[in-house]
Symmetry: C2
Subunit: 371 residues, 2 copies
């Protein structure tokens, strides 16, 4: 796995259980996964030489992020290395314009979009109807590279970053959903229940599995959509499809081809965690059951807060709720940074959300109610 | 954790999630846990210097086996190191005669026993009623150090090993049960549901959680017994109590103070795995919920079989049963050696036992029905 962040870290338990020879190319020995895993190589994912040296020790190469340049992956593939997902699929996570064009050509509903070169392109795109969303065509993640602009002046500011941009209509969605599918080189597919994601400031804060009150037909269509995209884009491994639910139906917001925050709940709430599923898929093993193991699972991210020691806070959180599952990533708790998550399973959505929020808040702020 | 076997290996995922600075003293870099974990020190658990150097990097010392000499642990404690469980408690897992005497003094029912120095002691103990069980007072595990003798001649053979021995009555039990409790230095206790264990040739083959058809009163008494023993013996960490169920009630067979084979089911079948629970207990954190997460969980050990590659067998096992959880230990598959386990969760005990057996058999022999 190229990348030593929390996604690689959380893949380690799956690799332990399956007993597969999992290796990680980490940017530094202090990376989240490098702190815990024996088989680490420190190197730069942007360096063809580092990638080649790492790949020489592996049967299959996969990723905990989408930032490895496609040309390096093509070069590795040409030397016979199995790259999963392959560069042709990964391109649609690296180039949002290519993604929009491809999905549109497949007849899949997306927000209205257009590439924009300057403010006048944006103004023309909006037709005077603000706000509008500007997105960096490549390189964004976790709300970075996405701007909601309420005026031409705000759009002009974004152009100041010097990035290639895409304009998208601002969708007045009812809520955000996500579907996580897996696909193997043998073309087996498996799909998890549709979840609701709750974002704030572009960062996922909460995931509810399954999405409460989602019409069964719509849920089934969302699952079929994810499997179809995975097949059409020839994805191997996981595909996360982030969706807007609107009065008129579902629109695809983003794609990712790796374990994803919308699937962290599966560690404690599904028969097969997304991390095990990703390993099975990229190793071309039969996929695991995506069935939930509890009626409802709620995950809440733990963000960096006031700089207090989160481990000191374990005593309260664990005593207050002995069934809450804590997952920390070994990251410095910079304010607003994802440093862990908590999961609770049960039956009552509201109670579970309350429990997850209290635990996440306490780990962040030292109080269950936030600052 | 002193010891780098599969118990240490399976503690790694819990350490990853809690983000605690888990370190392992392994006998070799090829040990089960050393294959996967970053923070390994290679050393000899029988060497005071190796133990001291390892403990210098730790706040709390715990164990994946009970073979560290008590005098070394006492010496470490005297230098201010937290040893959990402490040597005074561990003694009762290292000296079976001391364990029997202590439990008897507490009024806890055990098989009738006596230390024996020679065959005439054994003959006197049996009063002519064979078979009798001889046990090495220290050093045994997994059926090693336990002999069922059907005659004085067989007993004489056992004395040939030159070990200090204990004679115990041969108990005609109905079945074997086990209870796993945890206790923290703050004296919090938590206890898992009573399980049934199925042994063959002294090796655990199957664990059913909870024990099917166990009378609620007897289950409650078994749980209370485990908590009482943990308290009386001042255990910190896990305590596994292996029991014989007889027509007259429960007899204590063995004790262990570490994660135990009878608790592997908790990884997939309980809110808190025994490995997380052990870490919480020895770190003096509030204990996790021991509640099961499914009505029934069945675990079957995978033993080394015909030398075929178990990983080649994943394709069949995973395709045949996408919900079976596989846990391999990275061990050479020597015939009869525990090299992994599988777990299934659900409702119907017979179906689950069948599924677990088929998966374990296939991983061992390449056929679902055994050789």
């Amino acid at each position: 796995m190229v990348g030593g962040g929390q996604l690689a870290r959380m893949t380690c338990p799956a690799a332990i259980a399956l007993g597969v020879g999992f290796r990680i190319l980490a940017g530094s020995a202090a990376d989240s996964a490098a702190q815990v895993w024996a088989r680490i190589q420190v190197g730069d994912y942007r360096s063809p030489d580092d990638l080649k040296a790492f790949a020489a020790e592996c049967d299959v190469l996969t990723f905990d992020h989408e930032h490895v340049p496609g040309e390096h992956l093509l070069a590795l593939e040409q030397t016979g290395i199995q790259v999963r997902p392959g560069p042709a699929a990964l391109r649609f996570t690296q180039d949002k314009l290519a993604m929009r064009e491809r999905l549109t050509s497949l007849g899949i509903a997306c927000p209205r979009y257009a590439p924009v070169r300057d403010v006048s392109d944006v103004t023309e795109f909006t037709g005077g109807k603000w706000p509008v969303v500007l997105k960096a065509i490549s390189g964004g993640y976790d709300g970075k590279g996405v701007w909601v602009c309420r005026s031409a002046a705000e759009a002009a500011e974004v152009f100041g970053h010097g990035l290639a941009l895409l304009a998208e209509e601002y969708v007045g969605f009812q809520r955000e959903l996500a579907v996580l599918a897996a696909r193997s080189p043998h073309r087996q597919g498996a799909v998890y229940p549709v979840v609701q994601t709750v974002q704030a400031d572009g960062i996922c804060r909460e995931v509810i599995a399954p999405a409460p009150g989602l019409a069964p037909g719509r849920a089934a269509r969302a699952q079929a959509l994810a499997l179809r995209i995975a097949a059409e884009l020839d994805v191997t491994g996981l595909l996360a499809v982030e969706l807007f639910e609107t009065a008129d139906g579902l629109l695809v917001n983003e794609l990712a081809m790796r374990p994803h925050n919308c699937g962290h709940w599966t560690i404690d709430g599904a028969r097969t965690s997304q991390f095990e599923q990703h390993l099975r898929a990229v190793l071309d093993l039969p996929l695991g059951s995506p069935a939930p193991s509890a009626p409802v699972t709620v995950m809440a991210n733990v963000l960096g807060g006031d700089g207090g020691d989160v481990y000191d806070r374990y005593i309260h959180v664990m005593a207050a709720d002995p069934a809450v599952k804590i997952h920390m990533y070994g990251k410095e708790p910079r304010p607003g940074r994802k440093i862990g998550h908590v999961t609770v399973t049960g039956e009552d959505v509201d109670q579970l959300r309350d429990r997850a929020r209290r635990a996440a808040s306490y780990l962040r702020w030292g109080t269950e109610e936030g600052p």
